[in-house]
Symmetry: C2
Subunit: 324 residues, 2 copies
């Protein structure tokens, strides 16, 4: 489908996104930690999106989407269905523009997540805990309000926004051999891959996902969007339980060099290592990049300098003992 190919976000779209969101998001720091270098067997540069607004990279895509709207569009607000970081990020971004954010969440979503959205000024709409109900309520709310639907990852504005991570990282750290990126729906890795391959074609892009939600690895092998091998609830990396989308998969198939899957035990050890030695609070999904460096597949690459995206820091401290 040449039309889809040519209409995907490119480096210019990512540069435009960077200018658009610059007044709103943090240029997150890149930190290093000798103990992590030792574990990884190479120099590691941690891109700290856990220190991003709303505690996750999702602030980038959401604010790019919200500030891309015309005034006429924006007036009616934005709508999404999500119970994760995208919900908070969209509520926050809409608040920055002074427009309503309608967030459709299942009735069984944890109160802490609803409260986070409400805390950023979002309007929560209940739905049943099924994908059908989510989509239906989302469509109803969009129709009633005239609001623009901003999906969590399968959206060019969102992909371009997440791509600004790559733009920043390449400016902050010269001569990287690879960037390691957690993969859920694929919006972040698609944006980063587009940016990095345009600026530095020999730089490799590695996706990482938990073994039990290995849809990206399976999709890359089969050439079409696949589901997970296991029950998504079996991974502690709750941000990575989704599957790839129609907009993200073609980019990943073309530009991502490899997808590494990591066992839960390594994700837990990675979480502990980052918190104990790098002194950063991260959520379990952000630990998969550290876990990847322990794999045979990673070791075989022989990289010297690697960027790892710590994608978020929204950890439930009270649940921490069960995650270590």
């Amino acid at each position: 489908m040449p039309e889809t190919e040519t209409s995907r976000p490119n480096l210019d779209a990512i540069r435009a996104a960077a200018r658009r969101i610059e007044p709103h998001v943090h240029r997150t720091p890149v930190l290093t930690c000798e103990a992590i270098d030792e574990v990884a067997g190479c120099e590691v540069f941690l891109k700290c999106e856990n220190l991003q607004k709303v505690g996750a990279f999702k602030a980038r895509g959401a604010s790019n989407a919200v500030f891309s709207l015309t005034d006429a569009e924006a007036e009616h607000g934005v709508v999404t269905h999500s119970s994760g970081n995208h919900a908070q990020a969209l509520a926050w971004a809409a608040g920055r523009r002074g427009i309503p954010a309608h967030i459709v969440m299942p009735t069984n979503a944890p109160m802490v997540k609803k409260n986070a959205v409400l805390g950023y000024g979002g309007i929560v709409h209940d739905c049943e805990p099924t994908l059908e109900s989510r989509l239906e309520v989302c469509r109803e709310v969009a129709e009633e309000t005239g609001g623009t639907v901003i999906p969590p990852y399968d959206d060019d504005r969102v992909i371009a926004g997440q791509g600004t991570i790559g733009l920043e990282l390449l400016g902050q750290v010269p001569d990287l051999d690879a960037i390691v990126v957690p993969v859920g729906g694929g919006g972040m890795i698609a944006g980063i891959a587009i940016c990095a391959k345009a600026l530095s074609p020999r730089l490799e892009i590695l996706g990482v996902e938990p073994e039990v939600v290995d849809d990206a690895a399976r999709s890359r092998l089969s050439g079409r969007i696949e589901s997970h091998a296991g029950d998504p609830n079996r991974t502690i990396a709750d941000g990575l339980r989704t599957t790839l989308g129609e907009r993200t998969f073609p980019v990943i198939r073309e530009l991502v060099d490899d997808i590494i899957t990591v066992p839960e035990s390594e994700i837990r050890q990675g979480l502990r290592l980052v918190m104990e030695r790098a002194k950063l609070v991260i959520e379990p999904s952000a630990a998969v990049g550290i876990a990847a460096t322990r794999s045979t597949a990673f070791r075989a690459k022989g990289y010297q300098r690697v960027g790892i995206v710590l994608c978020g820091g929204n950890l439930d401290l009270d649940a921490l003992p069960s995650l270590l």
Copy 2:
């Protein structure tokens, strides 16, 4: 005692320390967090010494002391008695110079602390868990080895090293109204006060300590070194249980504008706030600065822009639930 007054470290000594330790320590980042600004009622700039080498500001003083030694002195190594961050920092700094570090620790010190010192290449010497035994074993080891004793805070080389925090912070953030510094033995606040008052006399320096270890507040009132009101083991801020020293107290008496004491409940809330919202792992001693911003004494100052030193990040994750 004019001699003592004139021989204390000055701005030049701190600048020399900065040059000396620059190849070894991190220039730690300054981070901001809207949620903390809201709690504090002013703009807060977090000086992240939790991200320092060995996870605490102690790396600065220890490396300044170790690299101040002549080759002839250094050859015999360094000696200290400490079971806290100074022990790890001295072992680390000595390792950087390739000389032995002899650390005297009580037999009842936690294995995790002994292992941390051993991990940095330090040599652990056992003593009884009394101050008398610590001092005696320390003296014996120094005599046997010819090593130089580097105390944890009551030492001009250490004070000058800790003062480099102030030098960096003033370069990183213009127009601060105050710097808030946790006070244990007083080495850090003495160094920062000397530096800040020399460079920006109207900038105020506030010390903070837990209510149950209020020796600095009491000493400031009485004009001589006092002990604590309560049992030091009753505070979770274990790094602040010591009392002021002969070298640090005169500096604090002259240059520190106020000492604020904070209750344990506020220290716990500060710890949670920094971890949940700023996404930084800190040790309880580093939470007292956040706690101070909630006090009536702090509010009465009407500061607009405040630096807070997050002094360390060596938190026992497995003990975290009992600290929140």
